[in-house]
Symmetry: C2
Subunit: 202 residues, 2 copies
């Protein structure tokens, strides 16, 4: 019986690929066999991109977003509202918010979210530099753009406490029923929150 | 608005990762950001494993299975039934059948399956060498171990025609209701086949 792989090379590839989140041994083997059927250049380019990603990626010294140059494009821009700062978990959130076209302020990328279960504590995140930016007094408002999850709420609570001593307006992105969402099928926690946090017509 | 990535390096990584089957741009970005948070060695080891996989993997000259040495472990073994040959699509099928512990014969790995939609024709597969192995007269039976899908059936039909001129017993793995499966919830094609292909008690 073959409980192991017929080749050390493929076993090693499966081992490394399956270290990625959400990819099990079976999917890893499927991906490895796929690469074996494709031209050699595809695997080499993928490998090269991964090495570059991890060894050459730079981060903006102001907002910690991934950036090719020194300052990122948003921090370097003169067209942004430099009085508003939006705190987010990572680059994906910046891209999602930028794609709405509704926000013109600056960002601060935490590089993660407080999660005792995943072993992520406040000291693992870019919180000290956030406090410094707020302490400098250059911002009027800080928006906590964190996901409405247990970890997001924990992080928001921690930041709110930390920022309490500075005279800055703190806000959070609105939570409620998604546009186009069906009230009847909304989970009760979201629905409850959207009633408590109702917006009064003015 | 940022419709593109803030860094050429991350864009390139996303581009290459999302060429893998079943991984879209969003998942690719998630994987890239994950690697950026992990130690550098993980990305370098993954890249190294991918290069090795594509440049150093060897194939058994007899059955075309991936193998480290010259002959694969199964072809080199003296404990296998050398009169039975099982034709399969790829390595995963060999591993699945070996794990059952119910088969002691040899294998022939086609390296794919006939699929006009995916542009895979018989000439892309190891069919010529299969015919040669059968023509040599060393086998009593060839088992078509192909999936009961449109492509699997097409390939089985093609091989059956090709092998018709040789005096060899051709069989296929049994199709029917899976063990533990519920007759009521079995799709009608499977159920229909399992009635037509019923096994008579002897």
């Amino acid at each position: 019986m073959m409980h192991t792989y017929p080749s050390r090379i493929i076993e090693q590839a499966v081992e490394e690929i399956s270290k990625l989140p959400g990819i099990g041994k079976k999917s890893a083997l499927r991906l490895a066999l796929h690469l074996l059927k494709r031209p050699e250049t595809q695997s080499l380019q993928l490998a090269h991109a991964l090495v570059q990603l991890r060894t050459e990626t730079k981060f903006c010294p102001k907002c910690h977003m991934i950036s090719d140059g020194d300052l990122c494009g948003i921090c370097a821009s003169t067209k942004r509202d430099e009085k508003i700062l939006c705190v987010v978990e990572d680059l994906r959130d910046v891209m999602a918010i930028e794609n709405t076209g509704q926000y013109t302020g600056l960002y601060h990328v935490l590089g993660g979210i407080i999660s005792p279960l995943a072993g992520v504590s406040p000291s693992d995140l870019h919180i000290d530099s956030l406090i410094q930016r707020i302490a400098s007094g250059e911002f009027d408002e800080v928006i906590l753009g964190l996901s409405p999850t247990m970890e997001g709420d924990t992080t928001a609570f921690y930041l709110t406490k930390k920022l309490a001593e500075y005279s800055i307006k703190i806000s959070t992105i609105a939570r409620g029923i998604p546009i186009g969402g069906d009230l009847e099928y909304t989970d009760e926690i979201t629905l409850g929150r959207s009633i408590v946090g109702r917006v009064i017509y003015e």
